[in-house]
């Protein structure tokens, strides 16, 4: 019964404690194994599909070996200290968030060591340690407070830096925060109750001074009432000085060895004062016991569920950071990259820093498509990789994910800003590969799956469905207005100056129309025939036609419009898999 605070020894049946402890421990370990195994199972990107599990494990071993015995070992140690412990990347970007994380990290770790593992750690390091002695009373409260402050700060930051962008929903994160809060709360309450509890006093008195007779203990009680905050309901201050004097002698004889004044427990002590009125009640209900149970089992629960909550990033992020440090980016093999991508899916904190700085964030906001934002894109990429996205069968999701993936400009800001140091650009590239393989390639590609006429007929078949949302007026004002092409005199200058038509001389990249024919189809009222045409999608927007049109037609602007219109209308009529 090495692990566990002394107080537990006194109150909890060993077997129960142990079974619970080992069960949750086992769950935790299994969970960790399962989660981390995903780093070798999950495949993001076409190249990842090419590598086998053994290759990836091999890459892991090789990587570790070179890391440990290679030249970069110092580099890695540095990363260990600066990146992992001091959260350097976060410090460089957002100081308040960094502080929040640091508080939680430090507070939690110290509580774990000093309090949870006291018998294992503290007692060994500090002979004569007693949880009820100064400064431990104070420190325990302090560490707890750090964690609470950290959480509060993070939530405050999130609120303060809200960007108007939807952020990824993270139910487990909240659940875990609640659990953590619960552990701390029960801890504080337990402590507070014990401070104020007469029953606790009597039990101690019985054990150490052998008597429980109130009269006999009167002086000691007086001292504990006035200086240790025990809430005796039968005593009233002030006490006579001689009584106090006596009491102090008894205290020094029996108690002082283990008990410092609790006022240094700057959280629990005030709480105990608040509890005073109801202490008797709590005593009757043996609050000391059930609070302890709650506290301990909450800890176990946390332990058991840790791999499945967001707290898992506490494991994944350091590993990710160390992996980054272990080798320069380009040095990773295909297998290595594959594992790294899978790891990245777990290591994302959903902190939203990337979203805030994303170059296409305004587009995401205006198009109402969160999948343009890195954090959402990462979730979708994961979902696509393990098949959830398309199993969900929600076509619209498929589109929006694809739209997000292909509107990304690869500006690399997200990768630069990621506190976990994830190589997101690599992830996006891989994700696009997966989308294409899943039948969700870039619009310019899926349009090619059918000839222009087939698209037109698909549109006619779906006529009525799209008319409601047909954005012609706002998104295609030119092609919807005959005045913008009625001046065309069929002179074909647009085609003569078009580099695309001029160069599309090989069958493999032939365009099916010419700019002039597109304008003419508009005149013929056959606009739908143009939406899926190669000419419209292969227009290089070089503006030669528009610059040279003798009649001042805005040919290129119309081409752009037609693509936008096509993306909208063909997207609506097309099943989420590319037609074949």
């Amino acid at each position: 019964m090495a692990l566990a605070a002394t107080s537990v020894k006194k109150t909890m049946p060993h077997t129960l404690f142990h079974t619970a402890l080992y069960a949750s421990l086992a769950l935790c370990v299994l969970g960790l194994l399962w989660r981390s195994s995903a780093w070798f199972r999950v495949r993001v990107g076409p190249d990842a599909r090419a590598v086998t599990l053994s290759q990836r494990l091999g890459a892991l071993l090789r990587g570790t070996a070179t890391a440990l015995f290679g030249a970069r070992v110092l580099h890695i140690l540095g990363a260990c200290f600066l990146d992992v412990l001091l959260l350097r990347r976060l410090f460089a970007r957002e100081k308040p968030r960094w502080l929040g994380h640091l508080l939680i990290l430090a507070g939690f770790t110290l509580l774990l060591l000093m309090h949870a593992f006291e018998a294992l750690v503290t007692v060994k390091l500090f002979p004569g340690y007693e949880s009820t002695l100064a400064p431990y009373l104070f420190l325990r409260n302090l560490f707890g407070a750090m964690v609470v402050a950290g959480i509060a700060l993070l939530y405050f930051e999130r609120w303060r830096r809200r960007t108007g962008l939807v952020s990824v929903r993270r139910p487990m994160a909240a659940a875990f925060a609640v659990l953590l809060g619960f552990v701390l709360a029960t801890g504080y309450l337990l402590e507070a109750h014990k401070i104020a509890s007469p029953q606790a006093f009597y039990r101690m008195a019985k054990r150490y001074s052998g008597t429980t007779d109130p009269g006999e203990l009167m002086p000691l009680r007086a001292v504990w009432a006035s200086e240790f905050g025990v809430a005796f309901d039968d005593l009233k201050e002030p006490f006579a000085s001689n009584v106090m004097e006596r009491g102090r002698q008894m205290h020094d004889a029996d108690c002082a060895g283990c008990h410092a004044k609790p006022a240094s427990a700057f959280v629990s002590y005030p709480v105990s004062r608040l509890l005073a009125p109801v202490t008797a009640l709590l005593d009757k209900g043996r609050a000391d016991i059930w609070l302890l149970y709650l506290h301990v089992f909450a800890c176990f629960l946390g332990l058991a569920t840790l791999p499945f909550t967001r707290f898992f990033h506490a494991v994944a992020v350091p590993i990710s950071l160390l992996v980054n440090a272990s080798a320069p980016n380009r040095a990773f093999s295909a297998a290595g990259r594959a594992s790294r991508r899978a790891l990245a899916l777990d290591a994302c904190l959903r902190c939203g820093i990337c979203d805030a700085h994303c170059s296409v964030a305004p587009l995401a906001r205006h198009l109402g498509n969160p999948y343009l934002l890195p954090s959402h894109k990462l979730v979708a990429t994961g979902a696509l990789a393990n098949g959830r996205l398309l199993r969900s069968g929600r076509e619209s999701d498929g589109f929006r994910v694809a739209e997000g993936a292909f509107l990304c400009t690869d500006c690399g800001r997200c990768t630069n800003d990621c506190p976990a140091g994830l190589d997101l650009e690599d992830l996006w590239q891989a994700g696009r590969g997966d989308l294409a393989a899943a039948g969700l390639p870039a619009p310019a590609q899926w349009v090619r799956a059918l000839p222009a006429l087939a698209w037109a007929e698909a549109l006619e078949a779906a006529a009525g469905q799209h008319t409601a949302t047909d954005p012609d007026a706002s998104c295609a004002p030119l092609s919807a207005d005959r005045r913008s092409f009625s001046r065309c005199v069929q002179c074909q200058t647009c085609t003569n100056v078009c580099p695309v038509v001029a160069q599309s001389i090989a069958a493999d990249h032939r365009v099916d129309l010419t700019p002039q024919k597109v304008m003419n189809l508009l005149r013929l009222g056959l606009r739908d025939l143009t939406l899926g045409s190669r000419m419209v999608w292969d227009c290089a927007t070089c503006y030669q036609c528009q610059e040279n049109c003798p009649e001042g037609l805005r040919v290129t602007d119309i081409m752009c419009e037609l693509r936008a219109l096509a993306a909208h209308r063909l997207g609506a009529v097309r099943s989420w898999k590319a037609p074949s």
């Binding site: 296409v360 400009t409 990249h509 927007t541 070089c542 805005r554």
Partner: protein, 278 residues
């Protein structure tokens, strides 16, 4: 002279040398560059929603406007997008009001005060050929380059207001200032093929190669570019091609060298490039 520098997405991630050399050259010429948190110029959204495109572009303009600065961009594509957004906003009051609402969410607004300038005209006109000429210390005599304007710098001319789109001279003038010689090449005003790369890669390659071959046949030793898209397209089109390729050289690098700036500060790593001139 003070501008908000609009780098766009391509330069920082794919062509840092352009940022380096632009900053280095303009610093030497006494131009102050301010960095604001801009977003994508909006170009990719043109094929999805005209309005979203304009909103994205207008947000950048509004941010510059809030800082009371004109925008200077070395990216021809971004230049075109931002200018286009302005013309759309000006021709379509409905669009304008919808965009204003979208911007109001962030408490910013577009009123049209901010000018959008491309690097080349700023060098040629605002700073002026005299100032540039004076700054040139080490002319790259004998170097023959093919000036690649980039479509969106020139066309449509009413939107770009850059130069005569059929017979431009700005770039040639700037090249002569460095002592280098601009060659006359038939396909100069053609597209580089970059916008097609996603939709029709073979065609895009074909277009790029045709231009490169043309420039080479016209005696150019380097493609002189002022747009990351053209620049990278030329490089990638030549990557792995058997024929001896001609490298693409950013104008800012050429100018920087002529001004005697060191190659490192211009992001020029390979010293044996033909750009040293004779």
């Amino acid at each position: 002279m003070k501008y908000a520098l609009f780098l766009g997405c391509k330069i920082p991630s794919r062509l840092p040398a352009y940022e380096l050399s632009t900053r280095a050259v303009l610093l030497r010429l006494g131009v102050t560059l301010v960095d604001l948190e801009f977003n994508c110029c909006g170009y990719p959204a043109r094929n999805v929603s005209r309005e979203a495109f304009v909103v994205a572009a207008a947000r950048n303009l509004a941010i510059a406007e809030r800082a009371g600065l004109d925008v200077l961009t070395p990216c021809t594509c971004c230049f075109g997008s931002l200018r286009h957004a302005i013309s759309f906003l000006e021709e379509d009051p409905e669009l304008r009001s919808r965009v204003s609402q979208a911007l109001a969410v962030e408490g910013i607004a577009w009123s049209g005060k901010t000018e959008v300038e491309h690097l080349l005209p700023v060098l040629a006109r605002t700073i002026g050929v005299d100032a540039l000429g004076a700054a040139v210390r080490a002319p790259r005599a004998g170097l023959r380059v093919a000036a690649q304007y980039g479509c969106h710098a020139l066309r449509p001319s009413n939107v770009a207001r850059f130069d005569n789109p059929l017979a431009p001279t700005t770039f040639e003038t700037l090249i002569r200032l460095t002592g280098a010689t601009p060659v006359d090449w038939p396909r100069q005003l053609d597209c580089c093929g970059d916008p097609l790369h996603e939709s029709n890669a073979p065609l895009s390659e074909h277009i790029a190669r045709a231009k490169i071959a043309d420039a080479k046949a016209s005696g150019a030793e380097a493609m002189c570019t002022a747009c990351p898209h053209c620049h990278l397209r030329f490089d990638s089109a030549q990557a792995g091609s058997p024929k001896p390729s001609i490298r693409s050289l950013l104008y800012t690098q050429l100018l920087g060298l002529a001004m005697g700036l060191d190659e490192k500060s211009l992001g020029l790593e390979c010293p044996e490039s033909p750009i040293r001139g004779r």
